[in-house]
Protein backbone atom coordinates (compact mmCIF):
# COMPACT_ATOMS: atom_id res chain seq x y z
CA UNK A 1 0.00 0.00 0.00
CA UNK A 2 1.25 3.45 -0.88
CA UNK A 3 2.18 5.75 1.97
CA UNK A 4 2.02 9.50 1.80
CA UNK A 5 5.06 11.69 2.34
CA UNK A 6 3.32 14.33 4.43
CA UNK A 7 3.40 14.59 8.20
CA UNK A 8 1.45 16.76 10.63
CA UNK A 9 2.92 20.25 11.00
CA UNK A 10 2.13 22.50 14.02
CA UNK A 11 -0.54 25.08 13.26
CA UNK A 12 1.58 28.07 14.30
CA UNK A 13 4.41 27.00 12.00
CA UNK A 14 1.97 26.74 9.10
CA UNK A 15 0.65 30.19 9.98
CA UNK A 16 4.13 31.68 9.85
CA UNK A 17 5.00 29.89 6.61
CA UNK A 18 1.90 31.24 4.89
CA UNK A 19 2.30 34.71 6.40
CA UNK A 20 5.84 34.85 5.08
CA UNK A 21 4.70 33.82 1.59
CA UNK A 22 1.92 36.44 1.59
CA UNK A 23 4.31 39.25 2.49
CA UNK A 24 6.89 38.15 -0.02
CA UNK A 25 4.22 38.16 -2.69
CA UNK A 26 3.05 41.64 -1.68
CA UNK A 27 6.56 43.08 -1.65
CA UNK A 28 6.88 42.29 -5.35
CA UNK A 29 4.73 45.37 -5.86
CA UNK A 30 6.96 47.93 -4.24
CA UNK A 31 5.50 50.58 -6.54
CA UNK A 32 4.65 53.56 -4.43
CA UNK A 33 4.89 52.04 -1.00
CA UNK A 34 5.56 55.40 0.59
CA UNK A 35 2.59 57.17 -1.00
CA UNK A 36 0.28 54.28 -0.12
CA UNK A 37 1.40 54.52 3.50
CA UNK A 38 0.99 58.29 3.56
CA UNK A 39 -2.46 57.85 2.02
CA UNK A 40 -3.32 55.39 4.79
CA UNK A 41 -2.08 57.77 7.48
CA UNK A 42 -4.06 60.69 6.02
CA UNK A 43 -7.21 58.59 5.62
CA UNK A 44 -7.31 58.05 9.35
CA UNK A 45 -5.64 61.36 10.17
CA UNK A 46 -8.25 63.62 8.61
CA UNK A 47 -10.69 62.79 11.43
CA UNK A 48 -8.10 63.84 13.99
CA UNK A 49 -7.35 67.00 12.03
CA UNK A 50 -11.02 67.91 12.35
CA UNK A 51 -10.91 67.35 16.12
CA UNK A 52 -7.74 69.44 16.32
CA UNK A 53 -9.32 72.36 14.43
CA UNK A 54 -12.40 72.25 16.64
CA UNK A 55 -10.30 72.20 19.82
CA UNK A 56 -8.11 75.00 18.48
CA UNK A 57 -11.21 77.18 18.35
CA UNK A 58 -13.31 75.95 21.27
CA UNK A 59 -10.69 74.42 23.59
CA UNK A 60 -12.45 71.08 24.10
CA UNK A 61 -14.89 68.46 22.78
CA UNK A 62 -17.27 67.12 25.41
CA UNK A 63 -14.99 68.49 28.11
CA UNK A 64 -11.93 66.64 26.79
CA UNK A 65 -8.81 68.57 25.85
CA UNK A 66 -6.62 67.92 22.84
CA UNK A 67 -4.20 65.60 24.68
CA UNK A 68 -7.03 63.44 25.95
CA UNK A 69 -8.85 63.39 22.61
CA UNK A 70 -5.66 62.51 20.77
CA UNK A 71 -4.96 59.73 23.25
CA UNK A 72 -8.44 58.27 22.69
CA UNK A 73 -7.97 58.59 18.93
CA UNK A 74 -4.54 56.95 19.09
CA UNK A 75 -5.78 53.98 21.12
CA UNK A 76 -8.68 53.43 18.72
CA UNK A 77 -6.51 53.74 15.62
CA UNK A 78 -3.74 51.50 16.94
CA UNK A 79 -6.31 48.85 17.90
CA UNK A 80 -7.81 49.18 14.43
CA UNK A 81 -4.41 48.67 12.82
CA UNK A 82 -3.61 45.77 15.12
CA UNK A 83 -6.48 43.74 13.74
CA UNK A 84 -6.55 44.96 10.13
CA UNK A 85 -2.92 44.02 9.52
CA UNK A 86 -3.41 40.29 10.11
CA UNK A 87 -7.07 40.23 9.03
CA UNK A 88 -7.13 42.52 5.97
CA UNK A 89 -8.12 39.60 3.77
CA UNK A 90 -11.57 39.57 5.35
CA UNK A 91 -12.31 42.34 2.86
CA UNK A 92 -12.38 39.75 0.08
CA UNK A 93 -14.62 37.30 1.95
CA UNK A 94 -17.79 37.79 -0.09
CA UNK A 95 -15.98 37.55 -3.37
CA UNK A 96 -14.12 34.40 -2.32
CA UNK A 97 -17.33 32.72 -1.22
CA UNK A 98 -19.43 33.79 -4.20
CA UNK A 99 -16.91 32.67 -6.75
CA UNK A 100 -16.11 29.37 -5.04
CA UNK A 101 -12.51 30.57 -4.61
CA UNK A 102 -12.74 29.37 -1.05
CA UNK A 103 -12.28 25.79 -2.28
CA UNK A 104 -8.55 26.17 -2.22
CA UNK A 105 -8.45 26.73 1.53
CA UNK A 106 -10.25 23.44 2.15
CA UNK A 107 -8.00 21.00 0.36
CA UNK A 108 -4.72 21.44 2.19
CA UNK A 109 -3.81 20.04 5.59
CA UNK A 110 -3.75 23.45 7.29
CA UNK A 111 -6.34 25.59 9.06
CA UNK A 112 -8.89 27.09 6.68
CA UNK A 113 -8.82 30.51 8.33
CA UNK A 114 -5.01 30.49 8.44
CA UNK A 115 -4.88 29.83 4.70
CA UNK A 116 -7.55 32.38 3.87
CA UNK A 117 -5.99 35.19 5.91
CA UNK A 118 -2.52 34.60 4.53
CA UNK A 119 -3.26 33.90 0.90
CA UNK A 120 -2.10 37.44 0.16
CA UNK A 121 -1.91 40.68 2.09
CA UNK A 122 -2.16 44.44 1.83
CA UNK A 123 0.26 47.05 3.10
CA UNK A 124 -2.21 49.87 3.59
CA UNK A 125 -3.11 48.96 7.20
CA UNK A 126 0.55 49.60 8.01
CA UNK A 127 -0.28 53.27 7.43
CA UNK A 128 -2.90 52.97 10.18
CA UNK A 129 -0.31 51.48 12.48
CA UNK A 130 2.19 54.26 11.80
CA UNK A 131 -0.51 56.87 12.31
CA UNK A 132 -1.95 55.20 15.41
CA UNK A 133 1.37 54.67 17.18
CA UNK A 134 2.52 58.16 16.21
CA UNK A 135 -0.59 59.79 17.67
CA UNK A 136 -0.40 57.58 20.75
CA UNK A 137 3.24 58.45 21.46
CA UNK A 138 2.59 62.17 20.99
CA UNK A 139 -0.54 62.05 23.13
CA UNK A 140 1.02 59.99 25.91
CA UNK A 141 2.93 62.95 27.24
CA UNK A 142 0.24 65.51 26.46
CA UNK A 143 -2.56 63.61 28.20
CA UNK A 144 -2.70 63.59 32.00
CA UNK A 145 -1.75 59.95 32.57
CA UNK A 146 0.48 58.57 35.35
CA UNK A 147 2.70 56.24 33.41
CA UNK A 148 3.32 53.38 35.82
CA UNK A 149 4.24 49.90 34.55
CA UNK A 150 0.69 48.83 35.36
CA UNK A 151 -0.70 51.63 33.21
CA UNK A 152 1.53 50.60 30.30
CA UNK A 153 0.41 46.98 30.62
CA UNK A 154 -3.19 48.09 30.84
CA UNK A 155 -2.75 50.16 27.67
CA UNK A 156 -1.31 47.18 25.82
CA UNK A 157 -4.17 45.00 27.02
CA UNK A 158 -6.59 47.70 25.89
CA UNK A 159 -5.14 47.79 22.39
CA UNK A 160 -5.20 44.00 22.10
CA UNK A 161 -8.70 43.83 23.54
CA UNK A 162 -9.99 46.63 21.33
CA UNK A 163 -8.47 45.02 18.26
CA UNK A 164 -10.20 41.76 19.13
CA UNK A 165 -13.57 43.46 19.66
CA UNK A 166 -13.53 45.03 16.19
CA UNK A 167 -12.06 41.90 14.65
CA UNK A 168 -14.72 39.65 16.24
CA UNK A 169 -17.57 41.70 14.81
CA UNK A 170 -16.05 41.53 11.35
CA UNK A 171 -15.11 37.85 11.56
CA UNK A 172 -18.53 36.88 12.88
CA UNK A 173 -20.29 38.71 10.05
CA UNK A 174 -17.89 37.12 7.57
CA UNK A 175 -19.12 33.77 8.87
CA UNK A 176 -22.59 34.76 7.73
CA UNK A 177 -21.21 35.20 4.22
CA UNK A 178 -21.09 31.40 3.88
CA UNK A 179 -24.86 31.45 4.02
CA UNK A 180 -25.80 34.86 2.68
CA UNK A 181 -23.00 35.31 0.13
CA UNK A 182 -22.83 39.06 0.75
CA UNK A 183 -22.18 40.94 3.98
CA UNK A 184 -19.71 43.54 2.76
CA UNK A 185 -22.07 46.51 2.90
CA UNK A 186 -23.09 45.63 6.44
CA UNK A 187 -19.52 45.03 7.59
CA UNK A 188 -17.71 47.89 5.93
CA UNK A 189 -20.21 50.58 4.98
CA UNK A 190 -22.10 50.28 8.21
CA UNK A 191 -20.13 48.83 11.13
CA UNK A 192 -16.62 49.83 10.12
CA UNK A 193 -17.92 53.28 9.18
CA UNK A 194 -19.46 53.80 12.63
CA UNK A 195 -16.28 52.56 14.30
CA UNK A 196 -14.06 54.90 12.30
CA UNK A 197 -16.32 57.93 12.60
CA UNK A 198 -17.63 57.73 16.13
CA UNK A 199 -14.79 55.84 17.81
CA UNK A 200 -12.63 58.93 18.35
CA UNK A 201 -15.06 60.94 20.46
CA UNK A 202 -16.04 60.86 24.12
CA UNK A 203 -19.46 59.25 24.15
CA UNK A 204 -20.75 61.90 26.55
CA UNK A 205 -21.44 64.17 23.58
CA UNK A 206 -24.05 61.75 22.20
CA UNK A 207 -27.70 61.43 23.26
CA UNK A 208 -28.19 58.76 25.90
CA UNK A 209 -29.96 56.28 23.59
CA UNK A 210 -26.96 56.34 21.29
CA UNK A 211 -24.55 56.08 24.17
CA UNK A 212 -26.35 52.91 25.24
CA UNK A 213 -26.39 51.52 21.69
CA UNK A 214 -22.68 52.21 21.17
CA UNK A 215 -21.88 50.46 24.45
CA UNK A 216 -24.14 47.44 24.52
CA UNK A 217 -25.49 46.85 21.00
CA UNK A 218 -22.38 47.68 19.01
CA UNK A 219 -19.61 47.52 21.63
CA UNK A 220 -17.73 50.52 20.27
CA UNK A 221 -17.17 51.89 23.79
CA UNK A 222 -15.15 48.81 24.71
CA UNK A 223 -12.63 49.36 21.93
CA UNK A 224 -11.05 52.51 23.34
CA UNK A 225 -13.46 54.80 25.14
CA UNK A 226 -14.04 52.90 28.41
CA UNK A 227 -10.39 51.94 29.05
CA UNK A 228 -9.26 55.43 28.02
CA UNK A 229 -11.52 56.78 30.75
CA UNK A 230 -9.75 54.50 33.21
CA UNK A 231 -6.30 55.72 32.21
CA UNK A 232 -7.43 59.36 32.16
CA UNK A 233 -9.11 59.03 35.58
CA UNK A 234 -12.45 60.03 34.16
CA UNK A 235 -14.53 57.01 35.12
CA UNK A 236 -16.57 59.34 37.36
CA UNK A 237 -18.39 60.84 34.36
CA UNK A 238 -19.29 57.45 32.80
CA UNK A 239 -22.86 56.24 32.72
CA UNK A 240 -21.66 52.67 33.36
CA UNK A 241 -20.10 51.25 36.52
CA UNK A 242 -16.34 51.92 36.83
CA UNK A 243 -15.56 48.19 37.21
CA UNK A 244 -17.08 47.58 33.79
CA UNK A 245 -14.71 50.16 32.33
CA UNK A 246 -11.79 48.52 34.11
CA UNK A 247 -12.73 45.11 32.69
CA UNK A 248 -13.31 46.42 29.14
CA UNK A 249 -10.15 44.80 27.68
CA UNK A 250 -11.53 41.37 28.62
CA UNK A 251 -14.46 41.62 26.22
CA UNK A 252 -12.21 41.25 23.17
CA UNK A 253 -10.89 37.74 23.89
CA UNK A 254 -14.36 36.50 24.85
CA UNK A 255 -15.98 37.88 21.70
CA UNK A 256 -13.15 36.60 19.57
CA UNK A 257 -13.48 33.05 20.90
CA UNK A 258 -17.17 33.18 20.07
CA UNK A 259 -16.62 34.68 16.61
CA UNK A 260 -13.93 32.13 15.77
CA UNK A 261 -16.20 29.26 16.75
CA UNK A 262 -19.10 30.82 14.88
CA UNK A 263 -17.04 31.31 11.71
CA UNK A 264 -15.93 27.69 11.67
CA UNK A 265 -19.49 26.59 12.49
CA UNK A 266 -20.83 28.51 9.51
CA UNK A 267 -18.19 26.98 7.24
CA UNK A 268 -20.36 23.89 6.86
CA UNK A 269 -22.84 26.03 4.95
CA UNK A 270 -20.25 26.83 2.32
CA UNK A 271 -21.70 25.96 -1.07
CA UNK A 272 -18.63 26.37 -3.25
CA UNK A 273 -19.78 27.37 -6.73
CA UNK A 274 -22.64 24.87 -6.50
CA UNK A 275 -26.16 25.94 -7.28
Amino acid sequence: MATVASNPVPAHRQYLLLLHAAWRGQLQYRGNLVLTLIGGVLYQGVGLAFVWAVVAKFGHVGGWGMGELAFLYGVRLTAHAAWTIPFNRLNSMDWMVQRGEFDRYLIRPAGTLTQFLNWSTNIQPLGDLIGGVGVLVAASSAAPIDWSPTAVLYLLATIAGGALVECSLQLGLCGLSFRLQATYALRMNFIDNIMNNFGGYPLTIFPSVMRFALTFLLPLAFVAYLPANVLLHRTGELSVAPWLAWCAPLLGPLLFAAAYKFWYGQLKHYKSSGT
Binding site: S6, G25, I107, P109
Partner: protein
Protein backbone atom coordinates in the same frame (compact mmCIF):
# COMPACT_ATOMS: atom_id res chain seq x y z
CA UNK B 1 -2.65 -11.75 -7.08
CA UNK B 2 -4.33 -10.29 -3.99
CA UNK B 3 -7.63 -8.55 -4.57
CA UNK B 4 -7.08 -4.77 -4.40
CA UNK B 5 -8.71 -3.03 -1.46
CA UNK B 6 -11.28 -0.29 -2.03
CA UNK B 7 -9.79 3.09 -1.22
CA UNK B 8 -12.94 5.14 -1.85
CA UNK B 9 -16.36 4.00 -0.75
CA UNK B 10 -19.44 6.06 -1.50
CA UNK B 11 -22.90 4.96 -0.39
CA UNK B 12 -26.25 6.63 -0.86
CA UNK B 13 -24.60 10.01 -1.29
CA UNK B 14 -26.95 12.97 -1.65
CA UNK B 15 -26.38 16.71 -1.59
CA UNK B 16 -29.12 19.26 -1.59
CA UNK B 17 -28.27 22.91 -2.09
CA UNK B 18 -30.64 25.10 -0.24
CA UNK B 19 -30.27 28.81 -0.24
CA UNK B 20 -32.47 31.60 0.97
CA UNK B 21 -34.37 33.17 -1.83
CA UNK B 22 -32.30 36.19 -2.70
CA UNK B 23 -34.07 39.47 -2.30
CA UNK B 24 -32.97 42.16 -4.69
CA UNK B 25 -32.90 45.86 -4.10
CA UNK B 26 -31.62 48.06 -1.30
CA UNK B 27 -30.46 46.18 1.79
CA UNK B 28 -31.22 42.97 -0.12
CA UNK B 29 -28.48 41.25 1.85
CA UNK B 30 -30.02 42.15 5.18
CA UNK B 31 -33.54 41.33 4.05
CA UNK B 32 -32.34 37.99 2.69
CA UNK B 33 -31.09 37.24 6.19
CA UNK B 34 -34.61 37.28 7.54
CA UNK B 35 -36.41 35.56 4.73
CA UNK B 36 -37.88 32.11 5.12
CA UNK B 37 -38.24 31.32 1.48
CA UNK B 38 -35.72 28.86 0.12
CA UNK B 39 -34.73 27.61 -3.25
CA UNK B 40 -33.42 24.06 -3.18
CA UNK B 41 -31.83 21.80 -5.72
CA UNK B 42 -30.78 18.17 -5.43
CA UNK B 43 -27.36 18.15 -7.07
CA UNK B 44 -26.44 14.59 -6.07
CA UNK B 45 -29.27 12.14 -5.63
CA UNK B 46 -28.21 8.79 -4.21
CA UNK B 47 -24.83 7.85 -5.63
CA UNK B 48 -22.97 4.62 -4.83
CA UNK B 49 -19.60 3.50 -6.08
CA UNK B 50 -16.28 2.17 -4.87
CA UNK B 51 -12.83 2.74 -6.24
CA UNK B 52 -9.98 0.32 -5.71
CA UNK B 53 -6.49 1.45 -4.87
CA UNK B 54 -4.54 2.06 -8.07
CA UNK B 55 -7.53 2.56 -10.34
CA UNK B 56 -7.71 5.40 -12.85
CA UNK B 57 -11.33 6.26 -13.40
CA UNK B 58 -13.10 8.82 -15.49
CA UNK B 59 -15.97 10.52 -13.73
CA UNK B 60 -18.20 11.90 -16.43
CA UNK B 61 -21.42 13.75 -16.88
CA UNK B 62 -22.86 16.81 -18.58
CA UNK B 63 -22.77 20.23 -16.94
CA UNK B 64 -24.78 20.30 -13.75
CA UNK B 65 -24.84 16.51 -13.50
CA UNK B 66 -23.34 16.56 -10.03
CA UNK B 67 -19.75 15.58 -10.81
CA UNK B 68 -18.11 18.60 -9.25
CA UNK B 69 -20.35 18.31 -6.23
CA UNK B 70 -19.29 14.68 -5.73
CA UNK B 71 -15.62 15.55 -6.08
CA UNK B 72 -16.01 18.43 -3.65
CA UNK B 73 -17.55 16.09 -1.09
CA UNK B 74 -14.76 13.53 -1.57
CA UNK B 75 -12.11 16.23 -1.12
CA UNK B 76 -13.76 17.61 2.01
CA UNK B 77 -14.85 20.96 0.53
CA UNK B 78 -18.56 20.24 0.93
CA UNK B 79 -20.60 18.31 3.46
CA UNK B 80 -23.20 15.94 2.02
CA UNK B 81 -26.85 16.07 3.02
CA UNK B 82 -27.03 12.28 3.25
CA UNK B 83 -24.99 9.14 2.73
CA UNK B 84 -21.58 7.90 3.78
CA UNK B 85 -18.18 8.42 2.27
CA UNK B 86 -14.86 6.97 3.27
CA UNK B 87 -11.64 7.96 1.56
CA UNK B 88 -8.60 5.95 2.66
CA UNK B 89 -10.39 5.23 5.93
CA UNK B 90 -11.25 8.88 6.59
CA UNK B 91 -14.60 10.66 6.42
CA UNK B 92 -13.43 13.75 4.48
CA UNK B 93 -15.60 16.46 6.00
CA UNK B 94 -15.18 15.16 9.56
CA UNK B 95 -11.40 15.01 9.45
CA UNK B 96 -10.71 17.48 6.72
CA UNK B 97 -7.01 17.99 7.38
CA UNK B 98 -6.27 14.28 7.78
CA UNK B 99 -8.06 13.62 4.52
CA UNK B 100 -6.13 16.46 2.88
CA UNK B 101 -2.85 14.70 3.60
CA UNK B 102 -4.01 11.67 1.58
CA UNK B 103 -5.16 13.54 -1.46
CA UNK B 104 -3.95 15.84 -4.20
CA UNK B 105 -6.39 18.10 -6.02
CA UNK B 106 -6.03 20.00 -9.27
CA UNK B 107 -8.72 22.34 -10.55
CA UNK B 108 -8.21 23.19 -14.20
CA UNK B 109 -9.67 26.66 -13.92
CA UNK B 110 -8.25 27.73 -10.59
CA UNK B 111 -4.62 27.65 -9.59
CA UNK B 112 -3.53 26.78 -6.09
CA UNK B 113 -0.06 28.17 -6.61
CA UNK B 114 1.04 31.44 -5.02
CA UNK B 115 0.27 33.93 -7.74
CA UNK B 116 3.06 36.46 -7.14
CA UNK B 117 5.85 34.05 -6.26
CA UNK B 118 8.10 32.04 -8.58
CA UNK B 119 6.85 28.50 -9.15
CA UNK B 120 9.81 27.10 -7.25
CA UNK B 121 8.78 28.96 -4.09
CA UNK B 122 5.29 27.47 -4.24
CA UNK B 123 6.70 23.99 -4.63
CA UNK B 124 9.12 24.43 -1.75
CA UNK B 125 6.46 25.95 0.47
CA UNK B 126 4.22 22.95 -0.08
CA UNK B 127 6.93 20.64 1.24
CA UNK B 128 7.11 22.63 4.48
CA UNK B 129 3.37 23.00 4.78
CA UNK B 130 2.84 19.25 4.40
CA UNK B 131 5.79 18.36 6.61
CA UNK B 132 7.58 16.36 3.91
CA UNK B 133 11.06 15.34 4.92
CA UNK B 134 13.57 17.67 3.27
CA UNK B 135 15.66 15.35 1.14
CA UNK B 136 12.64 13.42 0.02
CA UNK B 137 10.94 16.65 -1.02
CA UNK B 138 13.99 17.88 -2.89
CA UNK B 139 14.21 14.61 -4.76
CA UNK B 140 10.51 14.85 -5.63
CA UNK B 141 10.88 18.37 -6.98
CA UNK B 142 13.77 17.22 -9.14
CA UNK B 143 11.83 14.24 -10.43
CA UNK B 144 8.70 16.24 -11.28
CA UNK B 145 10.76 19.01 -12.84
CA UNK B 146 12.08 16.47 -15.27
CA UNK B 147 8.82 14.57 -15.82
CA UNK B 148 6.79 17.71 -16.47
CA UNK B 149 9.53 19.83 -18.06
CA UNK B 150 9.34 22.60 -15.48
CA UNK B 151 12.98 23.69 -15.68
CA UNK B 152 12.38 26.43 -18.25
CA UNK B 153 9.94 28.38 -16.10
CA UNK B 154 10.42 27.22 -12.52
CA UNK B 155 11.88 30.59 -11.51
CA UNK B 156 9.13 32.63 -13.17
CA UNK B 157 6.32 34.15 -11.06
CA UNK B 158 3.18 32.08 -11.51
CA UNK B 159 1.16 35.04 -12.77
CA UNK B 160 3.43 35.19 -15.82
CA UNK B 161 3.06 31.51 -16.80
CA UNK B 162 1.00 30.30 -19.73
CA UNK B 163 -2.03 28.16 -18.97
CA UNK B 164 -0.20 24.97 -19.92
CA UNK B 165 2.83 25.82 -17.82
CA UNK B 166 0.67 26.75 -14.88
CA UNK B 167 -1.24 23.49 -15.13
CA UNK B 168 2.00 21.51 -15.08
CA UNK B 169 3.03 23.49 -12.01
CA UNK B 170 -0.28 22.73 -10.35
CA UNK B 171 0.09 19.03 -11.10
CA UNK B 172 3.57 18.98 -9.59
CA UNK B 173 2.30 20.87 -6.53
CA UNK B 174 -0.52 18.38 -6.03
CA UNK B 175 1.75 15.35 -6.33
CA UNK B 176 4.73 16.53 -4.28
CA UNK B 177 3.44 15.23 -0.94
CA UNK B 178 2.93 11.84 -2.66
CA UNK B 179 -0.81 11.60 -2.05
CA UNK B 180 -2.55 8.25 -2.46
CA UNK B 181 -5.39 9.73 -4.43
CA UNK B 182 -5.30 12.44 -7.08
CA UNK B 183 -8.46 14.30 -8.06
CA UNK B 184 -8.27 16.08 -11.39
CA UNK B 185 -11.03 18.45 -12.41
CA UNK B 186 -10.75 19.40 -16.09
CA UNK B 187 -6.94 19.25 -16.13
CA UNK B 188 -6.65 19.78 -19.88
CA UNK B 189 -9.24 22.51 -20.37
CA UNK B 190 -8.04 25.21 -22.75
CA UNK B 191 -4.71 23.52 -23.50
CA UNK B 192 -3.18 22.85 -26.90
CA UNK B 193 -2.61 19.33 -28.20
CA UNK B 194 1.04 19.09 -27.14
CA UNK B 195 0.34 20.26 -23.61
CA UNK B 196 -2.58 17.86 -23.34
CA UNK B 197 -0.41 14.94 -24.39
CA UNK B 198 2.27 15.86 -21.87
CA UNK B 199 -0.21 15.99 -19.03
CA UNK B 200 -1.87 12.75 -20.03
CA UNK B 201 1.51 11.01 -20.14
CA UNK B 202 2.30 12.31 -16.67
CA UNK B 203 -0.98 11.07 -15.24
CA UNK B 204 -0.51 7.64 -16.83
CA UNK B 205 3.02 7.40 -15.43
CA UNK B 206 1.91 8.28 -11.91
CA UNK B 207 -0.83 5.74 -12.00
CA UNK B 208 1.39 2.98 -13.37
CA UNK B 209 4.62 3.61 -11.44
CA UNK B 210 3.40 5.01 -8.14
CA UNK B 211 0.07 3.23 -7.98
CA UNK B 212 -1.67 6.57 -7.37
CA UNK B 213 -5.43 6.29 -7.58
CA UNK B 214 -6.73 8.90 -10.02
CA UNK B 215 -10.24 10.30 -10.33
CA UNK B 216 -10.51 12.33 -13.51
CA UNK B 217 -13.37 14.67 -14.26
CA UNK B 218 -13.35 16.05 -17.76
CA UNK B 219 -15.38 17.09 -20.75
CA UNK B 220 -12.60 15.97 -23.04
CA UNK B 221 -13.42 12.36 -23.79
CA UNK B 222 -10.08 12.00 -25.52
CA UNK B 223 -8.56 12.23 -22.04
CA UNK B 224 -10.79 9.42 -20.87
CA UNK B 225 -10.26 7.22 -23.88
CA UNK B 226 -6.49 7.54 -23.61
CA UNK B 227 -6.26 7.15 -19.84
CA UNK B 228 -9.16 5.41 -18.18
CA UNK B 229 -10.09 1.77 -18.08
CA UNK B 230 -13.21 2.44 -16.10
CA UNK B 231 -15.73 5.21 -16.20
CA UNK B 232 -18.55 6.30 -13.97
CA UNK B 233 -21.16 8.26 -15.87
CA UNK B 234 -23.62 10.38 -13.97
CA UNK B 235 -26.50 12.62 -14.89
CA UNK B 236 -29.20 14.29 -12.88
CA UNK B 237 -27.29 13.38 -9.72
CA UNK B 238 -27.58 9.62 -10.35
CA UNK B 239 -25.16 7.00 -11.65
CA UNK B 240 -26.06 6.14 -15.21
CA UNK B 241 -23.26 3.73 -15.92
CA UNK B 242 -20.32 2.29 -14.01
CA UNK B 243 -17.93 -0.07 -15.77
CA UNK B 244 -15.30 -0.43 -18.43
CA UNK B 245 -15.09 1.75 -21.51
CA UNK B 246 -15.49 -1.29 -23.80
CA UNK B 247 -18.65 -2.48 -22.11
CA UNK B 248 -20.13 0.98 -22.34
CA UNK B 249 -19.56 1.01 -26.05
CA UNK B 250 -20.90 -2.52 -26.40
CA UNK B 251 -24.03 -1.54 -24.55
CA UNK B 252 -24.79 1.82 -26.08
CA UNK B 253 -23.09 1.54 -29.46
CA UNK B 254 -22.94 -2.15 -30.22
CA UNK B 255 -22.42 -1.85 -33.98
CA UNK B 256 -19.08 -1.48 -35.64
CA UNK B 257 -18.40 0.01 -38.98
CA UNK B 258 -16.58 -1.81 -41.80
CA UNK B 259 -15.31 0.56 -44.44
CA UNK B 260 -14.58 -1.07 -47.81
CA UNK B 261 -12.56 0.57 -50.59
CA UNK B 262 -13.44 -1.15 -53.88
CA UNK B 263 -10.86 -1.63 -56.62
CA UNK B 264 -11.23 0.67 -59.57
CA UNK B 265 -14.04 -0.35 -61.84
CA UNK B 266 -15.43 -2.86 -59.36
CA UNK B 267 -19.15 -2.74 -58.63
CA UNK B 268 -20.80 -3.12 -55.26
CA UNK B 269 -23.10 -6.15 -55.22
CA UNK B 270 -24.10 -6.16 -51.57
CA UNK B 271 -23.63 -8.66 -48.77
CA UNK B 272 -26.48 -10.89 -47.72
CA UNK B 273 -25.85 -11.75 -44.11
CA UNK B 274 -28.15 -11.47 -41.08
CA UNK B 275 -27.23 -8.51 -38.82
CA UNK B 276 -25.28 -6.66 -41.48
CA UNK B 277 -26.63 -3.59 -43.16
CA UNK B 278 -25.32 -0.91 -45.41
CA UNK B 279 -24.69 2.49 -43.80
CA UNK B 280 -26.15 5.52 -45.52
CA UNK B 281 -23.39 7.04 -47.68
CA UNK B 282 -21.47 9.83 -46.01
CA UNK B 283 -21.13 13.15 -47.73
CA UNK B 284 -17.36 13.34 -47.72
CA UNK B 285 -16.89 9.66 -48.59
CA UNK B 286 -14.41 8.93 -51.40
CA UNK B 287 -15.89 7.44 -54.56
CA UNK B 288 -15.82 3.67 -54.43
CA UNK B 289 -16.13 3.36 -50.65
CA UNK B 290 -18.93 1.48 -48.97
CA UNK B 291 -19.62 1.31 -45.23
CA UNK B 292 -21.32 -1.62 -43.49
CA UNK B 293 -22.72 -1.68 -39.96
CA UNK B 294 -22.71 -4.91 -37.99
CA UNK B 295 -22.99 -6.19 -34.46
CA UNK B 296 -20.01 -8.43 -33.62
CA UNK B 297 -22.26 -10.44 -31.29
CA UNK B 298 -24.38 -11.76 -34.17
CA UNK B 299 -21.92 -11.50 -37.04
CA UNK B 300 -18.23 -12.05 -36.34
CA UNK B 301 -15.90 -9.53 -37.98
CA UNK B 302 -13.98 -12.26 -39.81
CA UNK B 303 -17.14 -13.67 -41.39
CA UNK B 304 -18.32 -10.27 -42.57
CA UNK B 305 -14.94 -9.56 -44.11
CA UNK B 306 -14.87 -12.98 -45.76
CA UNK B 307 -18.34 -12.39 -47.21
CA UNK B 308 -17.25 -9.05 -48.67
CA UNK B 309 -14.05 -10.44 -50.13
CA UNK B 310 -15.84 -13.43 -51.67
CA UNK B 311 -17.84 -11.22 -54.01
CA UNK B 312 -15.68 -8.10 -54.52
CA UNK B 313 -12.33 -6.83 -55.62
CA UNK B 314 -11.13 -4.73 -52.68
CA UNK B 315 -8.06 -2.48 -52.21
CA UNK B 316 -8.58 -1.58 -48.56
CA UNK B 317 -10.63 -2.65 -45.54
CA UNK B 318 -10.89 -1.11 -42.11
CA UNK B 319 -13.01 -1.64 -39.00
CA UNK B 320 -13.91 1.53 -37.10
CA UNK B 321 -14.65 1.28 -33.41
CA UNK B 322 -17.31 3.64 -32.11
CA UNK B 323 -15.81 6.68 -30.44
CA UNK B 324 -16.59 7.37 -26.81
CA UNK B 325 -17.56 10.90 -27.69
CA UNK B 326 -20.38 9.74 -29.92
CA UNK B 327 -21.47 7.12 -27.42
CA UNK B 328 -21.71 9.53 -24.55
CA UNK B 329 -23.52 12.09 -26.67
CA UNK B 330 -26.02 9.45 -27.61
CA UNK B 331 -26.61 8.58 -23.96
CA UNK B 332 -27.16 12.20 -22.96
CA UNK B 333 -29.44 12.78 -25.91
CA UNK B 334 -31.50 9.72 -25.04
CA UNK B 335 -31.87 10.91 -21.45
CA UNK B 336 -32.93 14.33 -22.54
CA UNK B 337 -35.54 12.81 -24.83
CA UNK B 338 -36.96 10.84 -21.88
CA UNK B 339 -36.97 13.89 -19.66
Amino acid sequence: MPTPKPIIQVEGLAKEFRRPKRIEGPFGGIRTLFTRQYVSKLAVDGIDFTVDEGELIGYLGPNGAGKSTTIKILTGILQPTQGSVEVAGVVPWKERERNARNIGVVFGQRTQLWWDLPLRDSLELIGKLYGVERDRHRANIERFTELLGLAAFIDTPVRQLSLGQRMRGDLAAAMLPEPRILYLDEPTIGLDVVAKERIRAFIATLNKDEGTTVILTTHDLDDVEKLCRRIVLIDGGKVLYDGSVEKLKARYAPRRRLVVQLAEGARWRGVAMPGVEEAPPEEDAEPGTVALLFDPETAASAEVIAAVLADHQVTDLSIVEPELEGVVHRIYAAREAVA
